[in-house]
Amino acid sequence: MSQPTGSLLSLKNLGKRFGSLQALEGVSLDVRAGTVQCLLGENGAGKSTLCNLIFGVYEPSAGDMAFDGAAWAPESPAVALEKGIAMVHQHFSLVPRMTVVENLMLGQVRGVLKRHEFGARIRDIAESFGFSLDPDAVVGELSVGERQRAEIVKCLMRDPKLLVLDEPTAVLPPGEIGALLDICRRVADSGRAVILVTHKLAEIAKVADRVVVLRTGRLVADESMAEADMGALVHAMVGRELRPLDVALAETDEDVETPEAARGFALVCDGLTVHDRHGAVRLDNFTLEIRPGEIVGLAGVEGNGQSELGMVLAGLLRPTEGHFYIGGSDLTHAGAAAVTAAGGGIVPEDRHAVACVTGMSVAENVFLNKLERFTRFGLLQRGAMNAAAQKQMKEFDVRATGPEVAFSGLSGGNQQKAVLARELTLDPLVALVAAQPTRGLDVSAVEAVYRQIRAAARRGVGVLLISSELDELLAVADRVAVLYRGRLVGERPAEMSERGAIGALMSGQIVSGQVA
């Protein structure tokens, strides 16, 4: 086998297919010992699939892998770990109520526990890579960065040749990122290889030796960091041709004059700030004004404060600071029922847990927030409700055998259309907040959802559309604001030509202004 010298892991024409989805195709790359390699790509670009192939979670459907001078086909993560590949997952696998040393001993030792001996080993390993870790600290009381370091030590104890870190910066506050990168550098300097998986290039640019970029399952760039042009890499990551959605929506968009209400905004967020229970800032001084009839897209990689914002606007989470107004009334501390009453339609991010009661019928779900319409003397008028539901199902194209079937029996697209039916038929309807409304839906359902949202906007509703699908935002919204680490970092017109600039904002490469 002719390998380039120093290549620890080499992939040749690697492909993976899930049913009809080609998740990865023709990926060839080499990872050298002693280097830090960055694997860059958007959500769904195939980064996780690639890692899972290397780590033995999946079997490739095409191509070959070689690791450490031999053909590589691990049948399970346990085998991969055994042979020298360790992975720090995005979701840590530590038990919060046990100490660091107990966590690291779990599954590794038999019989009587020797905490001191093992703790000393942990200290030694941490120190040899230039950081400190208290083996007797309870994991649940550690900061996210410290937990991550514990997880890294857990991997390093197995003395791996290749260390893979999946989105390691996603969970870290900015101050801790530098320390993580130092550790990665030292791990590489000790003769191991490091793969950093990320969609935030700017954060890790300092430490990477090489960058490979994946887009829709294909390798689109493989460059040495020293020669790489950041702008070109970002473009490689996000650049894409027009998709059918844009065409479909363009055809139906007859460009009606939006009726701008003379006074006020539909939705105003004024300095909304949310701290989580650990005191970390999840949403930072978020200010945005949406006019009636306007669709504002909120772009951003998931986990940058979108969920928190959605919860606040739904009346489910009290912000630490700031206010929000729907149709001019302050609803910051009013709760979910008041938001509905004031004309705030909410399409929650988590369809199953928050948006519906899956065990109840379609009709019951469609009228969940206005059951009083069909209640007489405390009794539910089921006949009237089902008839009304039937009418709405027709209007919103919710396909089900009838209004009385269980909501759980509907497909994801039809469930979402039913949720939209519920929220868009509020009276009055002033503002609509739709969070990731097309997640998991097929193309035709996506189109239907956006048709309804646009129709609502034409009727004068102000829409905040939160989505991690940039293409959809560009097709649907009037302007796109970008959320990064809880902050509004910039705003651009929703035009295809702005795609690169918005992508750069999303990846945190620039805070505002022009892309390099």
Partner: protein, 306 residues
């Protein structure tokens, strides 16, 4: 007065013993994430089969073995239902308790019908040589049934196992974060099975203590809520061995007061004293005394990939 106190301590220890045995066993399985509400049923089953074994064989030690065997069988069914079939642990537990009460009452009436109140061969009191004659401590601590000393040893073993062995580590991990434990290569369901069997073993010991060591007979529903008190002690003790034992001793002392206060000529309504341990348990479980967090995955069955 000193004599009174020594007797009070001795009876506290005697009354707390079945609670301590059952609670320390239950603690293991709750730390592993399985709640055995059936603890009461396990103890009652054990008390009955212990009495039966002892009476039929004439050997109280064989009786203890029968008690443990019967209770372990019950716990195995409990483990199968709650770990493998992922049944609702509360419902299964209540079902077991009702079943155990009915079955032991029925069997008792069939087998012992005419011989009720007959004394069965019991375990001897073991006066520890050289210590039992000590003026105060001798009466208080060293004139107990053999099972007390063995039981105390088992409780220490459970403490050491939970805190100082890899099995204990595995038990705590599967009770908190079974998914993480699974990733670390711990067999989650097998660990839970073992933990439930340990509960069964200890509950069997507790049941045997009540019928063979303490009362020397079986009566209908003779555990009379001791299993529930043990469950309360685990919560009161914050899933920690030392504190749980302390809670059991507190409940034991409250029960001992029933006999002690009248003997000292203090006039308190008996009904109030009968109620006292349960009242304490209620306050404890309600979190009046400072609530501690249960194992994160308590009562939640584990299924990989879900």
């Amino acid at each position: 007065m000193e004599e009174m106190l020594a007797i009070f301590i001795a009876s506290t220890l005697r009354l707390a013993m079945p609670l301590m045995l059952a609670a320390s066993g239950e603690l293991v399985s709750e730390r592993a994430g399985v709640l055995n509400l059936s603890l009461e049923g396990m103890m009652l089953t054990a008390a009955f089969f212990g009495a039966l074994g002892s009476w039929a064989s004439g050997n109280p030690y064989l009786g203890v073995a029968c008690a443990i065997l019967a209770s372990v069988v019950v716990s195995a069914v409990q483990a199968w239902l709650s770990v493998n079939l992922r049944a609702n642990q509360l419902v299964v537990g209540i079902g077991f308790n009702i079943l155990a009460l009915g079955a032991t009452t029925l069997l008792y009436r069939i087998i012992f019908g005419g011989l009720s109140r007959e004394e069965i061969p019991g375990l001897p009191k073991l006066a520890v040589k050289g210590l039992s004659d000590l003026p105060f401590a001798g009466t208080a601590f060293f004139q107990q049934s053999v099972i007390v000393y063995v039981g105390l040893g088992l409780i220490v073993l459970i403490w050491a196992m939970l805190n100082h062995t890899s099995f204990g580590l595995a038990v705590r991990a599967v009770g908190d974060e079974p998914r993480s434990a699974d990733k670390a290569g711990i067999p989650v369901n097998a660990t839970r099975w073992k933990a439930v069997l340990i509960t069964g073993f200890m509950a069997g010991f507790a049941g045997a203590f009540i019928s063979i060591a303490d009362i020397h007979t079986f009566t209908e529903n003779m555990t009379n809520g001791a299993g529930y008190l043990a469950l309360a002690a685990v919560i009161f003790g914050g899933w920690n061995v030392g504190r749980t034992i302390a809670a059991c001793l507190l409940f034991g002392a409250a029960t001992a007061l029933q006999f002690q206060l009248p003997a000292m000529g203090i006039n308190v309504p008996t009904a109030f004293l009968l109620m006292l341990p349960y009242l304490l348990a209620l306050l404890a479980v309600a979190g009046v005394v400072g609530r501690l967090e249960p194992p994160t995955s308590l009562t939640l069955p584990f299924q990989r990939g879900k």
